[in-house]
Amino acid sequence: MRRFMIIAGALALTACGQDAETQTAYASYQETLAIELIDAEPGDVIEIPEGVYAFDRSLSLTVDGVTIKGAGMDKTVLSFKDQIAGAEGLLVTASDFTIEDLAIEDTKGDALKIAQAENIVIRRVRTEWTGGPKTSNGAYGIYPVQVKNLLMEENVAIGASDAGLYVGQSQNVVLRHNRAEKNVAGIEIENTFDADVYGNVATDNTGGILVFNMPNLKQPGARTRVFDNDVIDNNRGNFGHEGTPVATIPAGSGIVVNSNDQVEIFDNRIAGHRTVNIIISSVYSSGLSQKGMSEDFDPYPEGIYIYSNAFDGGGKNPDAVDLQALRIAMFGPLGALPDILWDGFVDPEKLEDGILPDALRLCVQNGDAKVINVDAPNEFNAPRVADGDHDCAHDKLPPVRLTGALEMFNE
């Protein structure tokens, strides 16, 4: 810390030669923290005391082994309301990193981005756009991408114009006891292997919890367990940016699996979604150009297993013209879609005698919850409620175990 004070002092002295306007722009805690991040050494704990701190440009950390710690997510606030440069609030491209007990507010782009790193803990961090949910808000709240061995717990994400809590292209992930509200997507797991998503609350988003695979990326994703979450009333009108994948999510989608494989959804409380409580779909239902997909991309959701969830309400007023027409035609003007909707896309090359092999099927063991196959491949011509098609079971996935220094956080 002493090393840092000397540098800050020197900078303050030399700044006297600058014109006044330039000086006020960076004579603040902004410069203090920026220098502290630049000079950080492995093992350092950077403590940010209680207070609201204003930043006009993004911060970044490139040194491994650093912890950033605030005084609490409602006490230490990094405010980027007046940000004029940088695509995120804090960008971390370093491993063995922990951040906890602070808030990042009103960034122009993403609030907290952590890229290409290992052994990351994000705990009790709040990311929020304080003007309420708006399309002009930044895209992601907490955004780890290409991270191996990741724990995200007890965070709060509010108001993101894409996903509040987003894990992309990562491996070995535990995301638990977080709260996501008033985002387009509450929680999104994308192109990620081995993720446990449990004990979270997703409410008042457009879509509650999304498990997606997108084309053209280095890795697909598989093996996500979504369990013991409260996914309630995610009916907020979609305020995502047109053109982005989440902008196609109908308001009132509880849990959505898109093109991902071996996703296990169990023991959740899923209620009150105007479109449908669970959607299992292919990227073909997202309107992507097939010419714009890498050739090796697998667009089919396979080996999905849904069991023991508690459903309540839902499906009464889908936010999609096709689905609304289908609801009225099949279930009457006052009827509701079943709890689980499947778009019906299967890989023709994997069919054996016209039937999908057991390992690839959508399996449902969920009491009286019904599955509707909307027959999207044939323009919704022959939709049907077909529980018998899904009366099967997959082997359960093993729990994700955090490794190395994060092993002690396994529950």
């Binding site: 600058q18 410069e31 220098i35 970044s60 782009g109 894409d162 994308e190 997108m214």
Partner: protein
């Protein structure tokens, strides 16, 4: 582009400008350049790469100015680039990657603008190139903003930003970076306020750590394809072959005709394809390459990329507002439906590209990329 190297006048002529440079530098009687291996000096002058005195910037002995076929756009700033190696030790030539410079090498890039007013008011403009001739550059009518230093130490490259003072006599280390409010007057008279960003030392790595696996700071401009052009400083010779002759680079350069060469983005005699790819290469590919920090997007803008990897009919991954309501990175034939063009046009920090180092739109660059996309055939189905 004319390649005028081993012409009938022979190699000897190439050395005349070097001698002139040497003489000019000697007359300035400064201490020689130094690599400062153990500390980050507080003042730019401590490096002794050049001196600024009486309105003239004079390069020190052994300091070589260079430029690129197509440079990175930085809010229309003019740039003076220099390289110096201890004892004139050579860099190792590489046809594709940055040259392998020896420990102690110091590379500088000075950002400056033509002033829009007689007295300095923060108003800047742009227009003709202005650079050193015979090792010296007049500064009258120009405003020095910042000088970025890259020094090759034992452990790798270190990046250090220096900001010039009000009376233009000295630049001071600003590792936390800075934002400077400036006003840009375009040649047609339109003016716009913008916030010029001096990157902090970590943000330097946001571009220069172009391989996200190693996260090591690398040189970006000092590559064969950018340097392989007619020399601005020793016309009419080829810059790379001049360096070979002077001993600044060594190694098997092979057949000179096969050295990679990017087009000059503004050279209207070159093909639209070559100009656009050169522009995207230097402005985007330090992040958008298969191992770069932006490989998370699946978009690759290196010269060899094609199809969805280059953005054709490709949906965005995590673009947020950067999608601009458009569905594809490149919609062939339709620049106004292409995310690439939107991201170059916008000045919203949450949406624009590049993420750092640009605050105003490069209208001429946007026009080039738009024309390139407009000429593409096909559709996204």
């Amino acid at each position: 582009m004319p390649r005028s190297t081993r012409d009938e006048r022979g190699w000897f002529h190439q050395f005349i400008p070097f001698i002139a440079l040497l003489l000019a530098a000697c007359s300035a009687e400064q201490p020689g350049p130094t690599d400062r291996p153990d500390e980050n000096p507080q003042y730019l002058s401590d490096w002794n790469m050049f001196a600024v005195e009486d309105g003239v910037l004079t390069l020190s002995e052994g300091v070589t100015p260079y430029d690129l076929a197509t440079p990175l756009f930085s809010d229309y700033a003019l740039k003076l680039r220099t390289v110096w190696t201890p004892g004139g030790a050579p860099a190792r030539y590489d046809p594709d990657d940055a040259f392998g410079f020896p420990v102690g090498t110091v590379v500088t890039k000075t950002f400056f603008y033509p002033m829009a007013t007689q007295e300095w008011t923060g108003a800047v403009t742009y227009g003709a190139e202005h650079t050193v001739e015979n090792g010296a550059m007049a500064l009258d009518g120009y405003r020095l903003i910042e000088t970025r230093v890259l020094v090759r130490r034992e452990g790798g490259w270190t990046a250090l930003p220096y900001v010039w003072n009000d009376d233009q006599s000295q630049a001071t280390l600003k590792r936390a970076g800075a934002i400077m409010p400036l006003t840009l007057f375009r040649p047609d008279g339109r003016g716009e306020d913008f916030a010029y960003l001096v990157p902090d030392a970590n943000q330097c790595a946001a571009c220069h750590a172009s391989d996200a696996r190693t996260k090591k700071i690398k040189l970006l401009g000092l590559k064969a394809r950018h340097l392989n052009k007619a020399s601005t400083f020793d016309p009419p010779f080829n810059q790379l072959e001049g360096w070979m002759a002077s001993g600044l680079i060594e190694g098997d350069i092979g057949d000179a005709a096969l050295i990679p060469q990017n087009a000059d983005w503004s050279d209207e005699t070159a093909s639209l394809e070559a100009r656009a790819r050169a522009y995207l290469d230097v402005n985007c590919s330090h992040c958008h390459n298969p191992n770069g920090p932006a490989d998370t997007s699946g978009l690759d803008l290196e010269p060899g990329a094609s199809g969805p990897a280059m953005g054709a009919c490709k949906s965005p991954i995590a673009a947020g507002s950067g999608a601009g309501g458009r569905r594809y990175g490149i919609a062939p034939g339709a620049p106004d439906q292409s995310i690439l063009v939107f991201r170059m046009e916008t000045d919203d920090p949450g949406a624009m590209m590049p993420e750092l180092g640009r605050a105003v739109a490069h209208e001429e660059g946007v026009a080039l990329i738009a024309a390139w996309i407009a000429a593409m055939k096909g559709d996204c189905g």
